[in-house]
Symmetry: C2
Subunit: 337 residues, 2 copies
């Protein structure tokens, strides 16, 4: 699925960012992975395009024409990148996909503003539904509303994530509520918005929505696993990056809950340090080993994969769409990057 729609997504996105008025658009093309920092075209630095692919897939799956969902698909990818740019500033992340992040090359101020520009280019992309695809204004407003709500949830989730940093008392429920917003909102919206461009059947839309919620959990839980045990050559980030950043990711929440008394005390100590280092990462990994954290997290990812498949089967779409979706869900549950 991620390969199938790639060309059409990239073509649409490039159109959205073809303005040359200001150097900020060079920054954005770099951010999207199409050019190096001097503006020369490069290949192969793009992300997975998960959200726009889900959007186009959903539209096609319900019998819609993918060109009707293209403006929304482009919007979703642009908003995702807007959130990455600001996230990287907040987390002081120095690399993404093995390349320096925007703020490390252009400074925090320009990167912050570039993120805001991208957010607006996304809005414009949605508005183009009207002109480019002849959608009536009602449909445009409906689409814009769905995306606005998803964006708000995403940013509220980001706020929760920041609020959790350094804390040691986050429950599983709080964690799930946070990722359901921070990551789930946009993945959920990708499926729902794509389907909404192809059908008006409310039950179908609701099923896509629920499926998206479960799929979002699969994605983020696997992301959290990679944030602790992912290999640098695949993820482009050091092992234990989420420990270094004192994130409350699922493995941490689990270890805080399940570790023995000594382990809990050590975790508390490490999370009260200003800058945990490699030694602390090793200690936390040891605690997680004892608590069976990795198995627990991976099982939870599989559990939500199962839920997503079961929900999606309620759409009664063709076998080939069911199969496509199954392959994607499994990929998200086991990916290495």
């Amino acid at each position: 699925m991620l390969v199938r729609y790639r060309d059409i997504i990239v073509t649409t996105l490039k159109k959205r960012l073809s303005q040359d008025f200001l150097p900020v658009y060079d920054m954005l093309r770099y951010c999207m992975g199409w050019s190096d920092k001097d503006g020369n075209p490069v290949d192969g630095a793009m992300g997975k395009s998960l959200r726009p692919s889900l959007c186009l897939f959903a539209c096609e799956a319900v019998g819609g024409q993918i060109r009707h969902a293209l403006p929304a698909a482009a919007s979703l990818e642009l908003i995702h990148n807007f959130s990455l740019i600001h996230d990287e500033i907040e987390d002081f992340d120095e690399t993404r996909h093995h390349r320096p992040t925007l703020w490390t090359l252009w400074g925090i101020n320009k990167a912050l503003v570039a993120g805001n520009v991208l957010r607006i280019v996304a809005d414009r992309s949605m508005e183009m539904m009207k002109i480019d695809e002849g959608k009536d204004a009602e449909r445009v407003v409906k689409g814009v509303e769905l995306l606005t709500e998803a964006c708000l949830e995403m940013i509220e989730g980001q706020y929760m994530d920041i609020s959790f940093e350094g804390r040691i008392d986050i429950t599983l429920d709080q964690y799930m509520a946070m990722i359901s917003r921070k990551t789930g909102a946009l993945i959920r919206c990708s499926l729902q918005l794509g389907a909404a461009m192809g059908t008006e059947n409310l039950a179908t839309l609701e099923t896509f929505r629920k499926t998206g919620t479960s799929l979002g959990f699969v994605f983020q839980i696997r992301d959290d696993i990679l944030g602790i045990w992912g290999e640098e050559k695949s993820t482009g980030k050091p092992v234990g990056i989420d420990i270094l950043r004192k994130k409350n990711s699922l493995p941490i929440v689990h270890a805080m809950d399940k570790a023995d008394k000594k382990g809990k005390e050590l975790l508390r100590e490490i999370y009260s340090l200003e800058h945990p280092g490699e030694q602390e990462v090793a200690a936390v990994l040891e605690i997680m080993e004892q608590a069976g954290t990795r198995d627990y997290a991976q099982k939870l990812a599989y559990e939500y994969e199962g839920k997503a498949l079961k929900l999606f089967s309620q759409t009664r779409l063709s076998d080939s769409h069911q199969l496509d979706f199954g392959v994607l869900a499994r990929f998200l549950a086991v990916r290495q990057y």
Copy 2:
């Protein structure tokens, strides 16, 4: 004008920010000047509400009903505050209206995210035109498009402003192009969007648009004067704040152009320092005194005030609306805060 619409604007804005789901909304109510940092209600910390007032005025002036322009008016004020929150982070501004800025109280990360939340609350406000005011979808899409374009121009202007910092070769044309976006876009949009909620006459809308451009120049040029010579007790910012921040405001652009050889060299030196101090502010003030910078800038503000009035008179609106507009334009040209 700024007093007339105040109550209805505040009531509408408060409705938009009445959610209590997350502490981020406490931050936003603080930012809007309605509560202290602990969430207790306070009075008298709000800004001028210039943009929403212009929007409601324009709607009423062309014969529309102000309730039709209220969602747009609220959006404009929310977007203005979103841009202030991010600007304050970029400029390390520690106070606004004599109160600590958001990032100084809650940290940069939470402030950045709070700004993004406000931006989305603004989008939602526009979308409410449909439900609250029974506007048809076409009108909503049109309004959303106008606001999106203004937002993009504003942020592009912010990017230009950042790019200019520390430079000593900015021409008057470059400066005018920058402020026409950074400040002008939203003021222009306030008049145009307000009028668009009351009339579909294209010539009238174009006149409001042009009037807004001139009014934006009046506002920003006076702002630049206050950024050099404004008194701390009125502006809440130290004298010469724009020199300390190495901004390319109008007085600086003028002095760089008109100072004698020795003055230019000194300016170049000061703008290459990492942190100019009080001594440097005094030196720059002296150069500006010699170059007649203050008179020049104030005359330019009056010139654009005249242009704005002349343009507005083309609307052939009632004498009382002409008078109202004239009073506002004069206030913007001579205000102390």
